[in-house]
Chain length 167, copies 2
Amino acid sequence: MIDVSAIPMEEHVRFMRLALEEARAAELADEVPAGCVIVEPTGDGLSADARILGRGRNSVEAAHDPTAHAEMRAISEACRARGDFRLDGTILYVTKEPCAMCAGAIVLARIPLVVWGMSDPARGGQSVFGILDSEALINRSAVVDGVCGEECLEMMRGFFRARRRGG
Amino acid sequence: MIDVSAIPMEEHVRFMRLALEEARAAELADEVPAGCVIVEPTGDGLSADARILGRGRNSVEAAHDPTAHAEMRAISEACRARGDFRLDGTILYVTKEPCAMCAGAIVLARIPLVVWGMSDPARGGQSVFGILDSEALINRSAVVDGVCGEECLEMMRGFFRARRRGG
């Protein structure tokens, strides 16, 4: 198992850009732009042959399903890829801090590290409820925040600005 | 919209028994026994022609998916039945207090009333994190607890007792 806390920032940025691609695809489908990828580091870390186990984008409107958040989609896909409900040793990248539902799912999936772009101090699953490092739960996830933070925030702002204009 | 808080206990019991049937089916499949139904009261309340919008049972092991909790399955099914990601005016019955993930999903789905059998003071999404009535979130859910509580608790205890015996 690699030491996920020792991963250089530029490697996080590389995978956050893939999450941003997913978010952009959500936005083009008129969904709130949130995107996620789950990566399994191999060998020397993230650099060479890290495997992408799952991708997801927000699709609540199209799926008529409030659980169709980017993280949930990526977790289900990654578990199918592994044939296991446990995602030990993986890293989840998401453009926005997970909500309570997604934070709960991340802990259930035993994902040890979550990296996000923009925080959600008003409603985030960690910021408000402290779900990711709660002593009450059996597993805990470490957090790296602010990776491509400005880009993630700007995409979200742009989406809501356009909506207010009726665009 | 009917006043969900005015529903007599015997009507709650009727639907909790359906949730218990789902939990029993989960147990027979060697899954932690949790079951859920989502009901849409019509006309005079729950008695006559209440419509069951969704059912779900825990299937984490079979689906290799940590998000495959009873409540999540029932919410997705109910949303498909309605063609809407909003479940306003419905009641969710579940044998055990929802975890953080499921409590978050219930609030996202705007389900106004949650009825459960056994509470989970150590890890419950409401007991530990207060997700269902959090002022931070846009929607809130009222709770009725302890409906068929003994039956729900006994089913869960029996499951873990048999597992410890290797049964």
